[in-house]
Every structure is written in structure tokens, then in C-alpha cells.
């Protein structure tokens, strides 16, 4: 049984709060609910960005997701466009 939208939202937020690193790949959220299709999880993560619960963090080539309060500055990682 796939999680309901609200349960999925809560699980994604929880994961973003607890993960050891503040930035998460979209794939890290797949594990929140193995019964929901990756594209549906992506859509939910992007909705959470619009709602301000998550933010995008991009190196230029790869985009990650983070809780805004866990990101302090604008330091980059390795990577290319």
C-alpha cells in the first residue's frame, strides 16, 4: 500500500530533518515509500519546495534537496555543469 499524500510529505520532511548530511539526492527520498513511483516522489519533493518545507541546492550539474534551516551558507561541492 502506497502512503497517502500527507503521510508521504511527512516522511520526506522527516528524512530531510534527520539525514546526516543536509543535502539529499532525490533517490534518498524513494526509500520513504517503496510503493510510490519515483516520479510521484519527485513531484511531492518539488511541491514541498514550493511550500517552503524544502529548498533546492544545486551544484550546477546535480540538484539536491535540503531543509532551509540546515543550510547556512553558499559553499559549493565538487562537480561540473
Amino acid at each position: 500500500m502506497a502512503l497517502s499524500d500527507d503521510e508521504l510529505k511527512a516522511a520526506i520532511i522527516e528524512k530531510a530533518k534527520k539525514a546526516p548530511k543536509p543535502q539529499l539526492y532525490i533517490k534518498d527520498f524513494y526509500k520513504c515509500d517503496p510503493d510510490t513511483k519515483p516520479r510521484a516522489i519527485k513531484n511531492m519533493a518539488n511541491l514541498l519546495v514550493r511550500e517552503g518545507e524544502l529548498m533546492f541546492w544545486s551544484s550546477g550539474s546535480t540538484t539536491m534537496y535540503a531543509r532551509p534551516d540546515r543550510i547556512k551558507n553558499e559553499e559549493g561541492d565538487e562537480g561540473v555543469n
Partner: protein
């Protein structure tokens, strides 16, 4: 007046070719921030290390792509490039502009950014180089509301699709590359503007195997026009070429003295599959052997044309050399009809089958071509629901093993791996 001494960069102005150093100096006379680009670059040449930091949170509201954040790690020394974000603007299909539009873009960028551009980035977008974070929203407002244009893709998004100019100017185009590119760009707006995948994903559209957008080298899905019937031959025109009355290659090499045109040497002997010959004054082609390389058509454009049954070959998995070196795309579908009549349904189904699989199986920062390589082509074509065909084979067998699935063997077979592993540990 130059703000920094740049002896190393100045050397790059001494050659006979155009120099980006001269360009930046010229722009710096207008926008003094640009002196700091030169200053920082000179320092990097001296220290042999970059002073750009990158990554972060810049963007415009509602979008998760289109802007690539860049900062100087020496903002005190080079305040003009403290923030130096790159903006990607979705180019019009085939890069047709009016000069009015180009002036508009340039004026907008002088107003909000450094004024420096890179036309075009290798993704295809117009690339506007260098602005501060607080300039982004006002720029975006003017771009969308004033010019009716939009950002392109970056990060883990679908990247701005690109196409050759196709049927708008080129008689060889085997499908409407512009309509296809435009339709898919509009269809996938969400994927272009917001991250959708484990990593970047690109598709590009060329109208024929000349592949003027280099789709096969640069895109995860390359849609390359082709034909499935015979090359159309006008034998009277062949005779004119042989007699030297028509310039070969449309006259493109007419400035050199290459001697008289020799169809044997310049066409037939260069056919990669050796499938052409002259017979009774006529040019013959064994079309079953033709690999659609375009060479003969390029040399004899008035005599030869692509066949009339037109569509595209779909190749998957090209990438640039970050990990494991560069890789061309692999042929997956030799012929697909590409038509606006069904809103490109076959192509869209194909793309989404890849996405559903790659999003699940692909690792973080793994291009689909790398995922394919990891699982092997037989597994990939099975995922795509495609029957193996000779065109999938690059060379005669180098792998002596054949693996059968139970449904492929009469009577099938049952195998309980767990039961087996009890006796034979893996």
C-alpha cells in the same frame, strides 16, 4: 583603464585569432566589474588553481534550474565577481533570432548582469554570464514579461532540448525537427524547470545522419532522421557531375584545385560499406547494405536524396567524459515514425519508459548511458520491451555465453536459487 596587471592573459591576445581577453577588456570599459574577471583569472593562471566556488541555492522563485550559482572565493580582492551567476535562456528552435530580439537580450543583460554572453552554451541555450543574486528576480521578470522568453534547464533537470534547422531550410531533413523540439519542450516544461531525475537528461534532434546538433555525442536520447527505403537517384544529374558540369559538395570546396571530379575516387571508394558501383553509365546502390552515412548524398546533392519513407533512428546514452570517458549513444530503435499527427506519441512513450526505469535503477549522478553500460545492452533492451535485432550488435560475438530465460526454452525450467544456495554458497 585596466584595474589589474594581466601579463599572462595579455599573451592570449598576441595570436592571429580572436581573443576572449580582448573581448572582456572591451566590455570592462563599459562595465568595470569585468576587470575583476581578468584579475581573478590572471591569479588562477599564476597559482594554477581556480578561484570560482560553485553550488548553492540561487534561482528564481518556483524554478529549480536555469541558473548556475558561481562565487569568487576572493570577494575582497575581486568584488566585481563576488557573485557571478550564469543564466541559461532557452534558445528559439534552430536558433533563429531577429536582430531586434538579440539587441533586447543584450540590453537586458547589460541592465541586470555583466553584459557578457556566450552564444551558445553546449547545451544549446543562450548563456548569460555573471550577475548578482539580487539581480536574478528583476532579470527574470523582464525576460518573461518583457521578452516572452524563458530559462533553460540545469542541474538534475531535463536540459533545454536542441535541434538542427531541419525542414525550415534543409532538404535532407527526414522529419520536422523544429516541431518535434518545440512540442517536447512545451510538453516537458515541468521537467525542464524543476529537478526530475537522479542527474541531467538531454534530448536533441537532427533531421538526418549528418547530425548537425551532434545529438549522437551529446544527448541521452538522440533522435536522428533517416529513411527506410532507397536513396533516390537522378541518373541525369549523376551524369552532369561525372561530366564536371555540377560542382561536387554544392561547391563548398571550390576554392582549392582538386582536379577533375572523379566519382570512383570521391564517392564510390569512400562508401564505408562498399555498396555502390557504376554500371552502364549509371550509379547503383545496394541499399540493404547502405549504412545511411550521408557521404554520397553530401557530395552529389543534386543527384542523390534520402529515401521517401522517412523517420528517425533513436540512439540512447551519450555523455561527456566526466567519469569513464566520453561515450556515443547506442542505437536502440533503427526506425521510428516521428509525427505531429499523433503528438509524437511513440517518442514520448519511449522517453518515459527510459525515465521510469532510470529513475529507479540509475545511481546518483549516473547518466543513463552509464546505467546501460552497467546492466548491459541485453538487459536495457529488455527493459525497453524491444526485440534484439542485428543493428544492436556492434561486432560478432565476443561473449561466448548465452543466457536463456525459462520462457525462451520449450517446456521452460524451474530453478529455486535459494534451495541451490543452501548447498552451494555464492
Amino acid at each position: 583603464m585596466a584595474k589589474h596587471d594581466t601579463p599572462l592573459l595579455d599573451e592570449l591576445e598576441s595570436g592571429p585569432w580572436p581573443s576572449f581577453v580582448s573581448d572582456i577588456k572591451r566590455q570592462a570599459e563599459k562595465n568595470p566589474d569585468c576587470w575583476d574577471i581578468l584579475g581573478q583569472l590572471e591569479l588562477s593562471y599564476k597559482e594554477k588553481i581556480t578561484h570560482w566556488k560553485h553550488g548553492g541555492i540561487v534561482g528564481v522563485f518556483g524554478y529549480g534550474g536555469g541558473i548556475v550559482g558561481r562565487y569568487s572565493d576572493l570577494p575582497k580582492m575581486f568584488p566585481g565577481v563576488e557573485h557571478f551567476h550564469t543564466v541559461r535562456v532557452n534558445q528559439p528552435a534552430s536558433k533563429y533570432y531577429s536582430t531586434e530580439n538579440l539587441r533586447g537580450i543584450c540590453d537586458l543583460w547589460e541592465k541586470h548582469g555583466s553584459g557578457m554572453t556566450n552564444m551558445h552554451g553546449s547545451t544549446g541555450d543562450m548563456v548569460l554570464l555573471g550577475c548578482r543574486t539580487e539581480a536574478l528576480e528583476p532579470f527574470f521578470w523582464d525576460l518573461t514579461h518583457g521578452m516572452g522568453q524563458d530559462l533553460g534547464g540545469s542541474g538534475s533537470n531535463l536540459r533545454t532540448p536542441a535541434n538542427c534547422l531541419g525542414q525550415s531550410r534543409c532538404e535532407w531533413s527526414c522529419y520536422d525537427t523544429e516541431e518535434t523540439c518545440h512540442h517536447l519542450t512545451m510538453h516537458y516544461q515541468d521537467e525542464i524547470h524543476r529537478p526530475a531525475f537522479p542527474y541531467k537528461f538531454k534530448f536533441k534532434f537532427s533531421g538526418c545522419p549528418n547530425d548537425c546538433v551532434a545529438a549522437i555525442a551529446r544527448s541521452d536520447v538522440a533522435v536522428i532522421g533517416t529513411w527506410r527505403d532507397d536513396i533516390r537517384i537522378d541518373q541525369a544529374a549523376v551524369k552532369e557531375y561525372v561530366a564536371g558540369n555540377f560542382a561536387s559538395n554544392g561547391g563548398s570546396h571550390a576554392d582549392g584545385d582538386w582536379g577533375a571530379f572523379d566519382i570512383q575516387k570521391e564517392v564510390i571508394d569512400l562508401c564505408p560499406t562498399e555498396c555502390m558501383w557504376m554500371e552502364g553509365g549509371e550509379l547503383k546502390i545496394d541499399n540493404a547494405e547502405c549504412t545511411r552515412c550521408m557521404h554520397c548524398i553530401n557530395v552529389l546533392p543534386r543527384a542523390l536524396r534520402p529515401g521517401a519513407q522517412q523517420g528517425a533512428s533513436i540512439c540512447v546514452g551519450a555523455k561527456a567524459p566526466i567519469l569513464d570517458g566520453a561515450q556515443f549513444a547506442t542505437l536502440i530503435v533503427p526506425f521510428m515514425e516521428i509525427s505531429a499527427d499523433n503528438e509524437f506519441e511513440n517518442l514520448i512513450d519511449f522517453i518515459e519508459t527510459i525515465w521510469d526505469w532510470w529513475m529507479e535503477v540509475g545511481k546518483n549522478r549516473e547518466r543513463v548511458g552509464e546505467t546501460m553500460q552497467r546492466v548491459g545492452l541485453p538487459t536495457f533492451i529488455k527493459v525497453m520491451g524491444i526485440e534484439p535485432i542485428p543493428q544492436h550488435v556492434r561486432e560478432p560475438r565476443s561473449n561466448p555465453y548465452v543466457f536463456w530465460q525459462d520462457e525462451e526454452v520449450p517446456g521452460g525450467f524451474e530453478r529455486d536459487v535459494q534451495e541451490f544456495r543452501k548447498k552451494h554458497a555464492a
